[in-house]
């Protein structure tokens, strides 16, 4: 029972990060109908720029919590600029191209960003200095670190604000209207280019946050970290129903828990043949399962309704 609760707690932590990244995929898909496969790399850029800022600020002897916040803000600004830039130069010219074109371009952007990061930061794994207190708490028999509590709390707050922004404000309405019908939204005075740029801005800020949190969780950052994380978050978005914000949150949390439980029990279930290094397999079982059994995802609408 202890292992079960422990793995659920770990899974929710990981899942909160997946959810933040999945929201970025789903926001862009909702508005543009494209999968922004470069999104995972934005998370990586967020983690590495936050790390650079952290090192600088620590050397200037700022207190740790202040460094954490400032480093995040710096990473968020860099990622937002990056996200808007990607949209402007790589996707906007292809707005009316066949759907395959932006998809392939996104993969290209992803490779470019990875290579640039490798040139800037090298191939090595960078240790991320712990900025949050390394205390643990007992909760129903599970060991929970302060980092985990911060991750889940910050992610929950952020996602709640996003849902309010999208569902309760003028800009959110404009976003939903643009997602449903860009042409008619424009006739209501909505500047589609602004809304699309805004979508990338929000998605990239969430990615920066995810990058900071995931590197705080594992204490490590490197140029290739966005790839697998991006794929998993994409899986989470598909699991929840891509294009659906609540779905991205549910899908992210669920995928995190599935993975953690899988990693926790796979050794017992296979008599020790497979170990927790097979953790990544579960995400892709889930992806295949969803695509075969329920392509629209848990909360998704029928895909045909978009056309």
């Amino acid at each position: 029972m202890d292992i079960f609760l422990q793995q659920v707690a770990n899974g929710l932590t990981l899942g909160s990060i997946y959810a933040l990244v999945a929201l970025g995929y789903t926001l862009v898909y909702g508005i543009l109908g494209m999968i922004n496969f470069a999104h995972g790399e934005v998370v990586m850029v967020g983690a590495l720029t936050a790390l650079a800022a952290t090192k600088f600020l620590l050397s200037a002897a700022f207190p740790a919590p202040v460094v954490f916040v400032l480093a995040f803000i710096f990473a968020a600004v860099v990622c937002m600029l990056l996200g808007v830039l990607i949209e402007r130069i790589a996707y906007r010219p292809l707005r009316n191209a066949p759907r395959l074109a932006p998809l392939i371009t996104a993969i290209g952007v992803s490779i470019i960003l990875q290579q640039l990061a490798m040139m800037l930061w090298g191939r090595s794994y960078h240790a991320v200095p712990p900025l949050l207190p390394e205390t643990t708490h007992q909760l129903l028999g599970a060991q929970i670190t302060t980092v985990q509590i911060v991750i889940v709390g910050v992610a929950a707050l952020t996602m709640a604000s996003l849902l309010i922004l999208v569902n309760r404000t003028r800009l959110g309405r404009a976003m939903r209207a643009t997602a449903e019908n860009p042409g008619v939204a424009a006739l209501m005075g909505v500047d589609a280019n602004r809304i699309i740029a805004l979508t990338f801005l929000i998605g990239s800020a969430l990615a920066a946050l995810a990058g900071v949190l995931v590197s705080a969780n594992y204490g490590i950052a490197h140029y290739n970290m966005g790839f697998m994380l991006g794929l998993k978050a994409f899986t989470a978005a598909v699991l929840g129903g891509i294009g659906n914000l609540a779905g991205a949150v549910v899908g992210g949390l669920l995928l995190g828990v599935i993975e953690a439980l899988g990693a926790g029990y796979i050794g017992d279930l296979t008599g020790g043949v497979l170990g927790s290094q097979y953790q990544d397999v579960f995400a892709f079982f889930v992806l295949i399962g969803v695509l075969v059994l329920r392509p629209a995802g848990l909360l998704g609408e029928k895909v045909a309704e978009r056309a």
Partner: protein, 255 residues
């Protein structure tokens, strides 16, 4: 009466088809101006050019004395032209109220900062947008359906919702593209009442309609398009007698 909109020598070509050729017309403030013509005469094309959905090949449009930049639809809306569609184009998965609230976008301004911080200005503007949306829903008789999703509304209600949404942009000119299409007699009568009400409230209306009876009964002046050219423009009684118009409608009577 002063001139609200003047279209001069509008031309539009799709490949080898000259969809609009030298179309000029003048709409006066406060009138209901009808645009009729046989199928394929270019009525909807003219509408799409006027509202910025299609780029035009030739011509200028002057709205309230100022030239209209026709490139971007959201600017046309800002300038004061709103439209509805022949095939209804609501935001199907948003509520009736939200559809109208989107229409307020052009006339409101709180941006990202205000939305994120939930500033006082943001909350006040949001409340004002909602109030105005409810007024407009009441105006078209849909207030009790405000929370229903647009896709779940009856056909006639969807048409009226489109009009409410267009009104929310505070247009100087409201362009209705076949608003009576697919309506039964009762719904058409209600629509007619609604359009007459708009005129009483001082709005200028451009109406494309197949229902010739509705057009002749409602409009102050009517223009007739045929093969992309304007063949007549006059009061309904005169247009009805026009030889070219009668010929365009295959010699049929306009009754």
């Amino acid at each position: 009466m002063t001139v609200l909109l003047e279209a001069r020598n509008i031309g539009k070509r799709f490949g080898g088809v000259q969809a609009l050729k030298d179309v000029s017309l003048t709409i006066r403030r406060g009138e209901i101006y009808g645009l009729i013509g046989p199928n394929g005469a270019g009525k909807t094309t003219f509408f799409n050019v006027l509202t910025g959905l299609y780029p035009r090949d030739a011509g200028t449009v002057i709205l309230a004395g100022a030239p209209l930049a026709l490139g971007e639809p959201h600017r046309v809306t800002q300038a004061g032209i709103a439209r509805t569609f022949q095939n209804i184009r609501l935001f199907a998965n948003m509520s009736a109220r939200e559809n109208v609230m989107v229409g307020r976008h052009a006339r409101s301004k709180v941006g990202v900062g205000g939305a994120v911080l939930r500033s006082r200005t943001q909350r006040e503007e949001e409340a004002a947008i909602r109030r105005r949306a409810d007024e407009l829903l009441a105006y078209v008789g849909l207030l009790e359906r405000a929370d229903a999703l647009a896709k779940n509304l009856a056909y006639g209600d969807q048409r009226r919702l489109e009009i409410a949404r267009a009104l929310a942009t505070e247009p100087q000119l409201l362009a209705l593209d076949e608003p009576a299409a697919g309506m039964n007699a009762t719904e058409t009568a209600a629509l007619r009442g609604l359009i007459e009400g708009l005129r009483r409230d001082g709005l200028t209306v451009l109406l494309i309609e197949h229902d010739v009876k509705l057009v002749m009964g409602l409009c102050d002046r009517v223009a007739v398009l045929d093969y992309g050219e304007k063949i007549a423009e006059d009061v309904p009684a005169a247009v009805r007698q026009d030889a070219r118009v009668i010929e365009a409608y295959l010699g049929g009577s306009l009754e």
